[in-house]
């Protein structure tokens, strides 16, 4: 579906993803340059504009969305890249933290040791890599506490008992952003806002709850954690 050139938008950004005419001149001046478009199949494109809350199924949208996407991306090419998940997708999907996924997948692995004798039971090829990655990135000793803290940080702040409890979700922090924050194990709120630029607009509201959350989850981190 990608080969007919439809369904992909190619913003003219600093990524230098325009067709070969410009690339060839650059090639002669600066030697070989990395191109995001392979010379053999110019129609193949990476989707740079799946964001903006629109459907991530670029093939389904076809060429109809191309013009709008290019214009939108042109106007936003200087803005930081923000995490955007397909809202329609998330109706039936929940974003998990790596530590939560590790618990679930490990549970399945434990059951598979009993079921492995049955040849009819098949596992996806990505199962073991998924298990390995989640275990390596499971950086917390108590996943339930981390989830509660990130969603309800004010409950853990003894200085704001007289205030109404606030939640990160109440201030518009979505599940995907909470997962990115948890997986990154940030040391400071500055790091959170750098890694999740979509939260910068609410910095004044989120600063305090995030500080509390990071302070509370820091002791919950495992001592040695390396990712794969």
């Amino acid at each position: 579906m990608e080969k007919n050139g439809k369904g992909f938008s190619m913003p003219k950004s600093s990524l230098k993803s325009t067709p070969s005419k410009d690339d060839s001149s650059q090639k002669s001046k600066e030697g070989r340059k990395v191109q995001f478009n392979n010379g053999g199949s110019p129609e193949e494109r990476f989707d740079y504009s799946k964001s903006n809350g629109k459907s991530s199924s670029s093939a389904d949208k076809g060429g109809r969305g191309n013009t709008a996407n290019v214009k939108a991306s042109k106007s936003k090419e200087k803005e930081p890249l923000e995490l955007r998940l397909n809202q329609e997708l998330l109706k039936n999907a929940k974003c998990l933290m790596d530590c939560e996924a590790a618990e679930i997948i490990q549970g399945i692995q434990d059951q598979m040791t009993l079921l492995s004798q049955d040849a009819t039971i098949k596992l996806p090829v990505s199962f073991h890599k998924g298990l390995q990655y989640s275990q390596a990135n499971a950086r917390y000793t108590n996943t339930h506490s981390v989830r509660r803290v990130l969603e309800y940080p004010s409950y853990f702040n003894v200085n704001v008992l007289t205030k109404l409890p606030s939640t990160l979700k109440k201030h518009g922090v979505v599940e995907g952003e909470i997962s990115v924050i948890a997986n990154a194990c940030p040391e400071s709120t500055e790091e959170v806002f750098a890694l999740v630029p979509s939260l910068k607009s609410k910095k004044s509201i989120l600063q305090e709850p995030l500080e509390v959350a990071l302070m509370v989850i820091k002791p919950l981190r495992k001592v040695d954690s390396t990712s794969v």
Partner: protein, 180 residues
């Protein structure tokens, strides 16, 4: 990131697996779901299939004429892994070239980090080529790198994803190598 998804699928059961005893039929349906989930490998919106977690419901079966097979609508929960534009992840470098490196992240094997997206780094050839930076740790084979995803591509024929990464931004880059 990992997603926990609820999927409605139609499962076709062959006549020989239809048994008066409901337990065997339920087993046949579950085995079929596992088989199809494993064979499909990945979905363009949900990402790589990791595992089925539970069978939520099995609807009334509909007999298909001519073949005698029965079609059951089922709903099940599963874990998938996908990466999204704007997401921050950690990947491990597995190939180093003059113009960039390839990383893997979980089941995703083809994440390309171009040298143009590694500000301050220059390529150093040799037996163990790597990219070095005066102020940051190097980027070489088997190094862990925190990156941001700037683009993704779904390959329908291969049923796999490719992605583009960038280190342009604060708090992005290689993690320090463990001291020996």
């Amino acid at each position: 990131m990992y997603l926990q998804v609820k999927l409605p699928w139609n499962v076709i059961i062959a006549p020989e697996n239809l048994d008066i005893k409901g337990v065997l039929l339920q087993r046949a349906i579950l085995v079929k779901v596992l088989e199809e989930f494993a064979s499909r490998r990945a979905h363009k919106d949900l990402g790589y299939h990791i595992a089925v977690t539970s069978l939520e419901s099995i609807g009334d079966g509909k007999v298909r004429q001519h073949t005698g097979e029965v079609l059951f609508p089922v709903v099940f929960s599963a874990i998938t892994f996908n990466i999204f534009r704007g997401e921050v992840l950690e990947g491990r470098v597995h190939k180093v070239f003059k113009h960039g490196v390839f990383m893997r992240c979980g089941p995703m094997e083809h994440i390309y980090l171009s040298c143009t997206k590694m500000p301050g780094y220059r390529y150093v050839p040799g037996e163990n080529p790597e990219f070095i930076n005066e102020k940051s740790p190097p980027v070489g084979k088997d190094d862990l790198v925190r990156f941001m995803v700037i683009g993704t591509k779904w390959l329908e024929a291969e049923r796999e994803f490719q992605a583009l990464a960038s280190l342009e931004g604060d708090f992005l880059g290689p993690l320090p190598r463990p001291e020996i």
